[in-house]
C-alpha cells in the first residue's frame, strides 16, 4: 500500500503538527476539527491552526509548498471525504468515549485498504478498539508522535493482536522513509516506552530535588550534560512542556499502570508546584515556570524560583562540582560526595533500574528502549547505555548495598555490559542473557558502525577519511562543533588525492549534531591578534585551492549535510557535484555576522548559480543583487527545502528525510554519478559582471537601510566589500572575469575586512558570547 493521501482529525498542537509533517513528506493532508457551534466559518478551528503554524517558530512546515498541501475542514461536513484517504490519524482529545464515537462514524467511511491510527499517548489500544468490527481492528494501530512532530524523531507504533501485518509494515515504512522517523515498535502498555520512563524520570528528579534541597539550577546542572540530556534538564523541560500538563499525564498513567508499578511509589503532588500552577506559573506558555524572563524596566533578566521560599531571583550560571566531575565519566558524578552528587545517584539509579525492570514488558529489547529515549527525549544515551557507563556490576552492587531490588535483566548482565563490540559488530544483551547483533534496517548505513569495524584511511586532529565500501570514501570533520581549519584543508587535499588514485567517489559526511559550523574563529582571531596576516591569507588561499580541487576532482564528490552547515561548511556543499541533504539541514553563508565575507569560493559559487538561474529577470544586476541580499543578510535556510529556495541547494540535489539513511543515500548518489560516466564540471564561461556601477547601486541600498536603522556602521563596511566582490571589482561590464579572478577578489575583500577593528570586535564577541555583534 502506498500513502498518497492522508487525513488528521483533531487540529490541536499535535494533530496540526502531524498534518504539517505529513505535508512535509509531500503528501496532501486533510485536517479536520469540530465545527464550532454557530460559527460563521465551520472550518475555523483547522484554519486557525494553519494560520498559527505558518507563523510558529520553530516552523512545523519545511516549505511554503508543504503549507499548501494541507486542506482544512470540519468533521461535520467533510468526514465523508476521508473515504479517499490511505491513512487517517486520529489526534482528538484523550477521552475514550469521544474516540469511540469518532471511530464509529469513520468505520463506514474509510476504504478497506486504509489505515486508521490514533496518536493517543495514554489510552491502551485494547480499549480504543472495543466494540469495533474485525475489519476496523485489522486496519487500526497506535502511531504516537512526539512534540513537535517535525523535530522529534521518535514514532512509537503499537499494534493489536488483529492488526494487519502488511498495513503495519506500510506505516512503518512510510514513517521511516518519508517522515524520517525513528520507529520503535512498542507494546500496548501504559505510556508506551518513552513517556513511561520519561515521566518516571521527571518525577524522580523533582522529588529528589525537593528532598535534598537543591536549587533548580543545581538540579538542572546535574540532569543535563553530565548524563547526555538536553541542557533544559528537568525543571527547564517542565517549563517547556507545561507544568500544568504533568498532573493530567500522571492521572492517566496511574489509571492504567500495573498495581505494583514503581511509579506509584514515587508519585506525589508537590504542594509547591500546585501553588505555582494555580498562580499561573505553568511554564513558557504562561508567565513563566521554574524559570522566567523578567522584562521589567525594559530588561531581559532570566530568573529562577526558590523551591523553599517561592521567591524569584536572578538565575546565575553556576558551577556544580559534581557536574564538573562528569569529565571523568558518569560514575564520578554519582560518586561525588555532595548533595548534587547524591542527587545524581538517586535520580539516575531509580530511573535506570525502573527501565531495566520494564524490559521485555514494554518493548522486546533494550535497543528499543534506548532508541525511544534518545529519539523521543533527545537523550544522548539511552538508559542501558548509561548503565554501561556506570558499569553493570557497580550499579547492581550499589543497589544491593542500599537494600534495593536488582532487576532480573541487570542480574543477567553481571560481569558483562549491555552492549559490546564483537568483531567490529555492535551487539546488545537480549532478555535471555545472550548477545545479538544490532541489525540496521536496509538502506541504513552509519559511519559509527564503519568506525567500529575499520581504521581510517587518513586521519589528523581535525578530520578523517574512511572507506565506506563500493569504492566510495567518506570525508569526516572531527573537530569540536566540526569547525574547519588548516588541518581540515590539509587532510581534504590528501583525501582527494587518495580517492582519485584508489577509489571511485567521495562523500563528505559526519554524524555530529551539526555538519559544520564553519571556520575555526579562535584560530583566525589568534592569528589576527598577533598580526600574522600572511598566515591568515594562506588559510584563505588554502581553502580556496582545496575547495576548487574538490570541485574539479576527476571523480564525483557528494556532500551530505545534516543540522547546521554554516560558512565554510556551506561552501563545501556549494563546490560539490551533488548534495544529498538531510531534510533538517540549516545552511547559510553567515560570514558577515563576524565581519567577513565567504572567501573559500562561496561568494563566487553563489554568484555563478544565480547567473545560471534561468528563471531570474534579465540583465546583469539581478543575480548580483540576489546574492548580495542572501549573503549580506546572512540568510540561513531552516530546512533543506528552504535551502533550495535560497539556492544553497540546486534543484536536483537530493533530500533524505531519515537522518539514518543519509549516508547510504549519499553513497548511492555518488555511485549513480560514477555510473553515468562522470565528467568534472567545465569551468564557467567568461563571467560578465556589471562592475562599479553595481557596487554604487548596492551601496545606496545599504545606506538607505542604515538610515532606517536596519544596518550598522560596520555593516556598511562589510557590505561594500561584498558588493565589490559580487560586482566584479573594478572590471568594466565589457570585460569578462575568470573564475580565479573572482577568488582573488574574495581574498582581497576578506583580508581588507579582517584587518578592521570592527571585524575583529565581531569575531571576539562571537567567540565570547556565541552571538553576532551589531557594531
Amino acid at each position: 500500500m502506498e500513502i498518497k493521501k492522508a487525513a488528521v482529525i483533531g487540529a490541536g498542537v499535535m494533530g496540526s503538527g502531524i498534518a504539517a509533517h505529513i505535508a512535509n513528506a509531500g503528501v496532501p493532508v486533510t485536517l479536520l476539527d469540530i465545527a464550532p457551534e454557530g460559527a460563521d466559518d465551520r472550518d475555523a478551528i483547522a484554519k486557525g491552526a494553519l494560520t498559527r503554524m505558518a507563523k510558529a517558530d520553530p516552523a512545523p512546515f519545511m516549505s511554503r509548498a508543504a503549507q499548501k498541501l494541507v486542506t482544512p475542514g470540519n468533521i461535520e461536513d467533510h468526514l465523508e471525504t476521508l473515504g479517499e484517504c490511505d491513512w487517517i490519524v486520529e489526534a482528538v482529545i484523550e477521552n475514550p468515549k469521544i474516540k469511540h464515537e469518532l471511530y464509529g462514524r469513520l468505520e463506514p467511511i474509510v476504504k478497506p485498504e486504509a489505515v486508521v491510527s490514533s496518536n493517543t499517548s495514554t489510552i491502551p489500544l485494547s480499549i480504543l478498539t472495543e466494540g469495533r468490527s474485525d475489519a476496523f481492528r485489522s486496519s487500526f494501530m497506535v502511531t504516537h508522535f512526539f512534540n513537535p512532530p517535525r523535530y522529534m524523531r521518535l514514532l512509537e507504533i503499537v499494534s493489536g493482536p488483529s492488526t494487519d501485518q502488511a498495513k503495519l509494515d506500510a506505516i512503518h515504512r512510510f514513517a521511516d522513509m518519508r517522515l524520517g522517523k525513528g520507529v520503535v515498535m512498542a507494546k500496548d502498555t501504559p505510556g508506551f516506552v518513552a513517556n513511561r520512563i520519561g515521566t518516571f524520570w521527571i518525577q524522580a528528579g523533582l522529588n529528589e530535588a525537593f528532598d535534598l534541597g537543591l536549587s533548580v539550577e543545581e538540579a538542572d546542572a546535574i540532569a543535563s550534560r553530565p548524563m547526555g540530556v538536553p541542557k533544559t534538564g528537568i525543571f527547564g523541560l517542565m517549563d517547556l512542556v507545561g507544568i500544568d500538563l504533568m498532573p493530567h499525564i500522571a492521572k492517566s498513567l496511574l489509571a492504567t499502570l500495573p498495581e505494583n508499578d514503581a511509579y506509584r511509589d514515587i508519585f506525589r503532588v508537590e504542594p509547591f508546584i500546585e501553588t505555582m500552577i494555580s498562580d499561573g506559573y505553568i511554564g513558557r506558555k504562561g508567565k513563566g515556570g521554574f524559570y522566567r524572563l523578567n522584562l521589567e524596566a525594559g530588561g531581559r533578566v532570566k530568573e529562577s524560583i526558590n523551591l523553599k521560599t517561592g521567591e524569584w531571583s536572578k538565575s546565575e550560571k553556576i558551577k556544580v562540582d559534581a557536574a564538573e566531575a562528569g569529565r571523568q565519566g558518569l560514575r564520578a558524578v554519582v560518586d561525588h560526595d555532595s548533595r548534587p552528587g547524591e542527587y545524581a545517584w538517586r535520580m539516575l539509579s531509580q530511573t535506570l533500574s525502573y527501565a531495566a525492570f520494564l524490559v521485555p514488558e514494554i518493548a522486546d529489547s533494550i535497543v528499543d528502549v534506548d532508541d525511544a529515549m534518545k529519539l523521543g527525549y533527545a537523550w544522548k544515551y539511552g538508559p542501558f547505555e548509561l548503565i554501561d557507563q556506570l558499569g553493570v556490576d557497580y550499579f547492581a552492587d550499589r543497589l544491593q548495598q542500599q537494600g534495593r531490588p536488582v532487576p532480573d535483566l541487570l542480574e543477567k548482565a553481571r560481569g558483562r555490559s549491555f552492549y559490546r563490540v564483537e568483531d567490529g559488530a555492535l551487539q546488545y544483551l537480549g532478555v535471555e542473557g545472550d548477545y545479538a547483533d544490532v541489525v540496521r534496517p536496509d538502506g541504513v548505513l552509519l559511519l559509527a558502525d564503519i568506525k567500529r569495524q575499520s581504521e581510517p584511511l587518513l586521519k589528523n586532529g581535525s578530520a578523517a577519511l574512511w572507506d565506506i565500501g563500493g569504492g566510495v570514501t567518506c570525508f569526516e570533520f572531527t573537530a569540536k562543533m566540526n569547525t574547519l581549519d588548516d588541518q581540515v584543508m590539509e587532510l581534504l587535499a590528501r583525501a582527494l588525492d587518495l580517492t582519485g588514485r584508489s577509489h571511485k567517489a567521495m562523500v563528505v559526511y559526519n554524524e555530529g549534531t551539526n555538519f559544520s559550523v564553519g571556520a575555526n574563529l579562535g584560530l583566525a582571531m589568534f592569528a589576527a591578534n598577533i598580526a600574522m596576516w600572511g598566515q591568515v591569507e594562506a588559510l584563505v588561499k588554502g581553502g580556496q585551492d582545496t575547495y576548487k580541487a574538490l570541485k574539479y576532482a576527476p571523480f564525483p564528490v557528494v556532500s551530505a549535510p545534516s543540522g547546521m552547515a554554516l560558512g565554510g561548511g556551506c561552501e563545501i556543499m556549494l563546490h560539490s557535484d551533488a548534495v544529498q541533504a538531510h531534510a533538517e539541514t540549516y545552511c547559510g553563508l553567515v560570514e558577515v555576522g563576524v565581519g567577513v565575507i565567504p572567501a573559500w569560493g562561496g561568494s563566487k559559487e553563489m554568484l555563478l548559480r544565480a547567473i545560471a538561474n534561468k528563471r531570474r529577470p534579465g540583465g546583469p544586476m539581478p543575480p548580483v543583487a540576489q546574492v548580495f541580499e542572501t549573503i549580506g543578510t546572512a540568510k540561513v535556510a531552516r530546512s533543506a527545502q528552504q535551502a533550495k529556495e535560497l539556492m544553497y541547494l540546486k534543484p536536483d540535489d537530493g533530500v533524505t528525510m531519515n537522518r539514518d539513511r543519509l549516508l547510504a543515500d549519499a553513497k548511492a548518489r555518488a555511485l549513480a554519478l560514477v555510473e553515468a560516466e562522470y565528467q568534472p564540471p567545465a569551468p564557467p564561461d567568461e563571467i560578465m559582471l556589471p562592475g562599479p556601477s553595481a557596487r554604487a547601486g548596492l551601496n545606496m541600498v545599504v545606506s538607505d537601510l542604515a538610515a532606517q536603522g536596519k544596518a550598522t556602521p560596520h555593516d556598511i563596511v562589510v557590505s561594500d566589500a561584498l558588493a565589490t566582490v559580487l560586482s566584479g571589482g573594478d572590471h568594466d561590464v565589457t570585460e569578462p572575469l575568470a573564475e580565479d579572478e573572482l577568488l582573488t577578489l574574495e581574498r582581497e575583500a576578506f583580508m581588507s575586512l579582517v584587518k578592521t577593528s570592527g571585524t575583529l570586535d565581531r569575531i571576539e564577541h562571537m567567540l565570547e558570547t556565541g552571538k553576532p555583534l551589531r557594531n
Binding site: M621, A696, M700, Q708
Partner: protein, 379 residues
C-alpha cells in the same frame, strides 16, 4: 494658444496595492490596454482618427519594456494606423503625455491623442531590475539617486512639519477618498478589469478606518530618527490611467464631451534632495503663463507622494487645502508612478465639470528633482 486643446475623456483602472492587491497578476500592458479601450469606447471618438498613443511609464522595462505604447495600441484593438510612443518623466510621465499631445496639436501634428500612463509596481520593481547608477555622479550629486523617502524626510526637517501633522493629513486623504468611494463618485472614472475570473471595479488602497492613533503606532519607514512612515507615504500601487486629448475644433465637430480646456503647462527642475518641492517652481511658471494667481484656482489636484511633500508644496505656495484633492489623494488612492499624471489631470478636468468651477490646477513632484504642472479652464 492659437489652437485650443481640450480634455475630452478621462478613465482609469482601479488602483490596488502592489504585491498584495487584486491586480498583482495583471500585466501592465494588459492593464493599460483595458483602460484605453474603456476610454475610447466611452468617449465615442472614432479610433481611426487617433494620431498617437502617448504612454507614460516610470520604469519601462520587463513587461513594461520595449515600446509598450505601440503594443498597447494592438492590445487595445485600436487600428494599426494609430502610432504609439512611451515617455518617461518618472512620476510626471503621463502628465507629460498630455503636454506632448497639446504641443503636437498646436503644431498641427494631429487632432486627437490618447494620453495614458501605467505602472505595475508588483511586476516591475521601483528602481527597475538593473539599477546601475553612475558611480561618479553618485558621489558628486548625492541627490541624483536619493531614495524618495529620504527626500521626504529632508522636507519634513526643512519645513518643520511634525509627524502628527503628516498623520492628520493622511487621515484626511483617506476620509475624503472613502467618502467619495461610498458616494459612488469614483465609479464613473474606473474601467473594471477581469483577473482570475473576477471583475475588479473598486479601488483597493483606501483605508476608511485609519486614524491618527493607528498611524502613530507605525515605525518610521526611511529614517529611524525620522517622521515619515508607511502610513504617511503613498503606497506602492498597480494602476493605469488614460485621457483623450483633442483640439477643441475636432472635439466639437465630433460631438465629444469636453471636460476642460488646457490653459498652460510647465515643468521645472529643483534640488533633487528635496525633489518633493518640485511642484512649486512648475506651478508658479504655469500660473504665470496662464495669467492667473493661485487664489484664482478653484480646483487643485496636488499629488501626495508623501503627506509631508504635499504639505510642503502647499505651505510654500500658500495653497488653500480645502480646494485640493476633493476625492482624496495618492496617500489613500495609491500612486502607480507612470499613471498618476494622467489621473490627476483627468480628474481635475472632470472635477471642473462636476463642481461647475472655472479654473483647475494639477501638479506633481518628480524624482531627481523636478515638478510638472497643468492649468485647466472650464470649456
Amino acid at each position: 494658444m492659437n489652437t485650443n486643446v481640450v480634455i475630452a475623456g478621462y478613465a482609469r483602472s482601479p488602483f490596488h496595492f502592489a504585491k498584495k492587491g487584486a491586480l498583482t497578476k495583471v500585466r501592465p500592458d494588459d492593464l493599460v490596454a483595458n483602460t484605453v479601450k474603456g476610454l475610447v469606447e466611452r468617449s465615442g471618438v472614432d479610433p481611426s482618427d487617433i494620431e498617437d498613443l502617448i504612454l507614460g511609464c516610470a520604469f519601462p522595462e520587463g513587461e513594461q519594456g520595449l515600446n509598450m505604447a505601440r503594443l498597447v495600441v494592438m492590445l487595445a484593438g485600436l487600428p494599426r494606423s494609430v502610432a504609439g510612443t512611451t515617455v518617461n518623466r518618472f512620476c510626471g510621465s503621463s502628465m507629460q503625455s498630455i503636454h506632448m499631445a497639446a504641443g503636437a496639436i498646436q503644431l498641427g501634428a494631429g487632432d486627437v491623442f490618447v494620453c495614458a500612463g501605467v505602472e505595475s509596481m508588483t511586476r516591475v520593481p521601483m528602481m527597475g531590475f538593473n539599477p546601475l547608477p553612475n558611480p561618479a555622479l553618485a558621489d558628486a550629486e548625492p541627490g541624483a539617486y536619493m531614495a524618495m523617502g529620504t527626500t521626504a524626510e529632508n522636507l519634513a526637517r526643512k519645513y518643520q512639519i511634525t509627524r502628527q501633522a503628516q498623520e492628520e493629513f493622511a487621515v484626511e486623504s483617506h476620509r475624503k477618498a472613502a467618502a467619495a468611494q461610498q458616494a459612488g463618485k469614483l465609479d464613473d472614472e474606473i474601467v473594471p478589469i477581469k483577473t482570475g475570473g473576477e471583475s475588479v471595479d473598486k479601488d483597493g488602497c483606501i483605508r476608511p478606518d485609519t486614524s491618527v492613533d493607528a498611524l502613530a503606532e507605525l515605525r518610521p519607514a526611511f529614517d529611524e530618527e525620522g517622521t515619515v512612515t508607511a502610513g504617511t507615504s503613498s503606497p506602492l500601487t498597480d494602476g493605469a490611467s488614460a485621457t483623450l486629448v483633442a483640439s477643441e475644433e475636432y472635439a466639437k465637430a465630433n460631438g465629444l464631451t469636453i471636460l476642460a480646456r488646457l490653459k498652460s503647462v510647465a515643468v521645472a527642475g529643483c534640488d533633487p534632495t528635496i525633489m518633493g518641492i518640485g511642484p512649486v517652481g512648475a506651478t508658479r511658471k504655469a500660473l504665470k503663463r496662464a495669467g492667473v494667481e493661485l487664489s484664482d484656482i478653484d480646483i487643485i489636484e496636488s499629488n501626495e507622494a508623501f503627506a509631508v511633500q504635499s504639505m510642503s508644496v502647499a505651505q510654500e505656495l500658500g495653497m488653500d487645502l480645502s480646494k485640493a484633492n476633493l476625492d482624496g489623494g495618492a496617500i489613500a488612492l495609491g500612486h502607480p508612478l507612470g499613471a498618476t499624471g494622467a489621473r490627476i489631470t483627468g480628474k481635475a478636468a472632470a472635477l471642473l465639470q462636476r463642481e461647475g468651477k472655472e479654473l483647475a490646477l494639477s501638479t506633481q513632484c518628480i524624482g531627481g528633482g523636478q515638478g510638472i504642472a497643468t492649468v485647466l479652464e472650464a470649456a
